[in-house]
Subunit: 337 residues, 2 copies
């Protein structure tokens, strides 16, 4: 062995020396970029292996002006849907040979800082699953040819691609199902400070009901939770009247609402019906069995990566937006008819 014990790190130069070639050849051998004879290539690879050579990504990135890093902006990852989405995204990111730089934000200012930090690492792309990035910063990314894609965000920044679940289709399925179940009075459950996706679902629900002849002034009851998540839904149950067909903006609110109603001695589907959104693992559990709209996380993740890669190839192409199909999963709280 000629690797000294205290040796910090083996570099391309070390490999070059031992293989009797120049640094450049080593670079070519490892990146199969630039011509090199199969024989030397093999020899270099062999030596690299022996020496346990690992490319220094910082040096590489500094040169290429780009790393194999993808920045992911998330929030509230202990929320089941969000952690499932992150799960899906990480899978796709890694499948494509990237590594994820994940930052959890708590407000828009952190989002801005994060975006800056990402560019300082010369990431290959940014995925935003939470918050709304300031347009000026996004433009800086665009200028630096760093693709940005938003998931379930309002698609309104030029140069950014979006992938969203088809909220309108989802709301339509929900409305139709509740009408089919014979309901004439409806509830729409959402938090006070809803995301864009949540609001969109509510508006579409209302619109479909109206188109079906429902007097929404009289017969569509807004149930506005003063806080997010399970607890918000639980408390909102106190506001709920009798015999509603309820559509809910997300799974956590829905589970909370269901439990809140149970505490009041009412249950679905006997006393009301309930359709949630997201189809998180919890909604399937025996104690909930919530009828819910399934968001296709695999598809969302795949589309997100596809957009990043496409825009890497063609940075100036017009903003793309894909709507991902949702499907209604019939369970106990609003059974199939």
């Amino acid at each position: 062995m000629n690797s000294l014990p205290g040796r910090q790190n083996v570099t391309a130069q070390d490999v070059a020396s031992k293989a009797g070639v120049s640094r450049a050849v080593v670079s070519r051998a490892l990146s199969n970029n630039g011509s090199i004879s199969p024989a030397t290539r093999a020899r270099v690879l062999q030596v690299a292996e022996e020496l346990g050579y690992q490319v220094n990504f910082l040096a590489q990135g500094l040169n290429r002006q780009r790393t194999h890093l993808i920045g992911v902006i998330v929030s509230h990852i202990s929320d089941p849907f969000r952690s499932s989405l992150l799960d899906g995204l990480l899978g796709e990111i890694q499948r494509h040979g990237f590594q994820a730089l994940v930052t959890e934000i708590h407000n828009e200012q952190e989002l801005a800082e994060t975006l800056r930090n990402f560019t300082q690492f010369r990431v290959s792309g940014v995925i935003v699953t939470s918050g709304k990035p300031p347009e000026s910063l996004v433009n800086q990314c665009v200028q630096q040819h760093i693709p940005v894609v938003g998931i379930n965000r309002q698609p309104d920044i030029p140069g950014v691609d979006y992938v969203c679940s088809d909220n309108v289709a989802g709301a339509t399925l929900a409305a139709e199902q509740l009408i089919r179940a014979g309901y004439h009075r409806f509830g729409w459950l959402n938090t006070q400070n809803s995301t864009w996706a949540g609001r969109m679902r509510g508006e579409a629900f209302s619109q479909v009901l109206q188109q079906s002849g429902v007097d929404i002034e009289q017969n569509l009851v807004p149930l506005i939770a003063s806080q997010e998540g399970y607890h918000g839904g639980f408390l909102a149950a106190l506001q709920a009247g009798e015999g509603l067909g309820v559509f809910c903006a997300n799974a956590q609110l829905a589970c909370g609402f269901l439990d809140g109603m149970r505490k009041l001695g009412k249950n679905a589907p006997e006393d009301f019906q309930l359709i949630g959104f997201d189809n998180t693992p919890q909604t399937e559990q025996y104690s909930y069995q919530l009828t819910t709209l399934h968001q296709d996380i695999m598809e969302l993740s795949q589309q997100a990566l596809a957009h990043l890669l496409a825009r890497t190839r063609n940075p100036t192409q017009p903003s793309q937006i894909s709507w991902v199909k949702v499907s209604l999963i019939y369970r106990r709280t609003s059974p199939s008819i």
Copy 2:
């Protein structure tokens, strides 16, 4: 404005030129490292601000041989406890001014690759929440002075620090509570391929029972789930006999078990009692109200970071291990007496 529109990126040289100083001075101004007169410092900072200068982390890292990145190895992040832990870790990592490189692994081989990739980015530290890193690779980290800390891992690699919830204390609390509740027959629910932490909880439970005079051959029933998570617990309920005081390795199994029992028409605490581990948000919900051992995620995360920082200062110190206190949260499935 003298920043050209198509300008790729403003560098320290740009700032230096405009401020009429050398690159070196700019570096000093921004890192307050090396002496510099307050006046020039202020001027440089001012100019940097105007030009919107951002340090190139790749160049910086290449020089310093270290980035402000911390690698985090996770798995199954859609699991509630794991996503909560990741949440806590990200919070701590960011609070200390680092960014998280998160990789989800599915087997030990991916773990090894990930560890390599982390070192290729010259991370400041590695946190392992899943899997068991090969000792040889960890040693390479140690040699390169990259601190490694394991969370809830078996503490057996020299040079690695560990932070673990106090499983023995938890199991003891559970055993005592079930005994206090008057049980003479007990169940221990775990998955077939358990983590080290899970096994440890089971062994401690058994031991405490034995010390309390329970004939564990006769009266400690092992309930071994053939799969992980909620579903595993659900199916395991079929094996469960009557009138057991059950302790369970984690929250997901416990929720599944509870639901499985309910499906069989049995409920806690009437027909059996159940104590889980983890205190995930779900265990608190109205439909579960699971008595459970709380893992202090904030503390786990803080200790993990503390170890990383300590070892950064003193890379060769002996392996440290901190046991984090757990507490029993009394809820319906095994009420306080």
